[in-house]
Amino acid sequence: MKFIAVIRQVPDNEAKLRIEGGRVNYEGATLILDQMDEWGVEEVIRLKEQYGGEAVIVALGPERFEEAIRTALAMGADRGVHLVTEASLDPITQAQALADTLRDEAPTLVFTGGQQSDWDSQALGPAIAEALGWPVVTWTTSLELEGQGAYAKAKHDLDEGAEVVRVALPAVFTTQQGLNEPRYPTLPGIMKAKKKEIRKVPIAFEGKVETLEQTIQERRRLNKVIDGTKDPVAAADELVRLLHEEAKVI
């Protein structure tokens, strides 16, 4: 069986973002495998360990994405495919670009992050599903294979509540927090990853969406701190007073 995780590389969430020339500037930023995609990587490694087969990483992006692929390989995935483009492409176009590669790989299932923390998009998984003509389960919180990989039983979040579904494979799944606890890439894993294959495929696609401008409006907060360690009651009273009289919100 073959389990694919589609991943993206994003700036570290904790880092402060910088705008230069109307665009978020990545220079000097720590770039990491997106956390939501990491749950996908952990899941395909787990599935491979449990059911046998291959865990494959697929990424579409500039050359620097290779670091994120290596991180996934260091976690335990077997090999990678890197569709290389320096262009910034929207999720629909990316799904178009990924379709052939994913179809040729003919996996049992494809995982991708429920939402990635740079473009805040939830579209990649569903668009890939449409491209391949497969079902998609979004916000997946648990997954088990059934019937020798013919089906999967999955739990996923809805707007209000959750649902357990049975999906015919192959299918696309997008991740949700709680799906698993990603393992660290280990030191031996990092050393082994050096030798694992990353197949590079240069692509040329034109996106459908143009980003005109990015700005940060950091809301200047009052940052008033009240000490509630010695007299919690007084602190609570003060907070309520401030919210009522100063902020006028209660």
């Binding site: 357990v164 005109l212 209660i250």
Partner: protein, 315 residues
């Protein structure tokens, strides 16, 4: 024609549908009339309301929700209406089927937009990115599909006339997803998305029982209860209450975070609140960086005191 996919609850149009209609009408530089499509089952009742808002209304009786079904029905409507722009609500559901539609149409997808407009023959949109920290302006040539971020747009008024109603026959794809069990949470009290006051509890509260006090405070203030992912994962609160990157985004007048450490992913769900107040025993907790009012202290002592203070305020 601009096509709007109208979200409804089986009886009435949802607020999101009325916001979407407003947005569609704003694009009159591209097309002068707005069509709507209702998707689901037993649509007759909602159709009565819906036809008063659009020039043309399509009905697609396809049964209970599936992403493939909704995308297929929306596509059928789009084709029938010859619409170059399709508008839908940016609910989780909406954001799950609209990419399928966009792909099939070969259209540009603009997600969870705050504002939309036109620039010549292009659609321009404003939206958030980087965990709601960056505002970006995007443009796309037709055809375009976009979703509307809830609670950003005034609700449309009825037109004063009734649109034509047409039933669509939709070729449903074989759906590979079989629903085995659905846990739908009963919404109690004020809904998060509409609340002007949100009181959120984090894992530091220690137990599900402690949330009774969170509920009490929310009730007294007339607000909704929120939760962090950790709390939802622990089974203390329902999924629908989760605020954050992987949950809901809220924009109340005041967001009160109790024993919430304030990781960036949680902040993404509330950093646009007008005011943020926090209670946490760790003065280094990230939440204090984004709080207007922060109380450093033990939430188990501060929360009961907040309840008392709120009671006094009411009187």
């Amino acid at each position: 024609m601009i096509l709007v996919v109208l979200e409804h609850d089986g009886q009435r149009l949802r607020k999101g549908a009325l916001e979407a209609i407003t947005r569609a009408r704003q694009l009159n530089a591209i097309a002068g009339s707005v069509a709507g499509v209702l998707i689901g089952e037993n649509l007759a009742a909602v159709a009565e309301e819906a036809k008063r808002y659009v020039q043309a209304l399509y009905l697609a009786e396809v049964g209970p929700y599936t992403a493939e079904g909704w995308a297929a029905a929306a596509y059928a409507a789009q084709q029938k209406a010859g619409a170059q722009v399709v508008v839908a609500t940016g609910s989780r559901q909406g954001r799950s089927w609209t990419p399928r539609l966009a792909y099939r149409m070969g259209a540009a997808l603009l997600e969870d937009t705050l504002e939309t407009g036109t620039d010549g023959a292009k659609v321009i949109a404003t939206r958030y990115s980087f965990l709601n920290r960056v505002t970006e302006k995007q443009s796309a040539a037709l055809p375009v599909v976009f979703t509307v971020k809830p609670n950003t747009t005034p609700l449309a008024e009825p037109l004063g006339s009734e649109g034509t109603v047409e039933t669509l026959s939709v070729e449903l794809p074989a759906v590979g997803v079989e629903v085995m069990e659905r846990v739908v949470e009963q919404k109690k009290g004020v809904s998060l998305a509409e609340a002007t006051i949100v009181v959120t509890g984090g894992r530091g509260l220690g137990s599900p029982q402690a949330f009774a006090q969170v509920e009490e405070l929310a009730d007294l203030l007339g607000g909704a209860v929120g939760a962090t992912r950790a709390v939802v994962d622990a089974g203390w609160r329902p999924y629908g209450e989760q605020v954050g990157q992987t949950g809901k985004t809220v924009q109340p007048n005041v967001y009160i975070a109790l024993a919430v450490s304030g990781a960036v992913q949680h902040q993404a769900g509330m950093n646009k609140s007008k005011y943020i107040a926090a209670v946490n025993k760790d003065p280094e907790a990230p939440i204090f960086k984004v709080a207007d009012y922060g109380v450093v202290g033990d939430v188990h002592q501060v929360l009961p005191a907040l309840i008392e203070a709120a009671k006094k305020l009411k009187d």
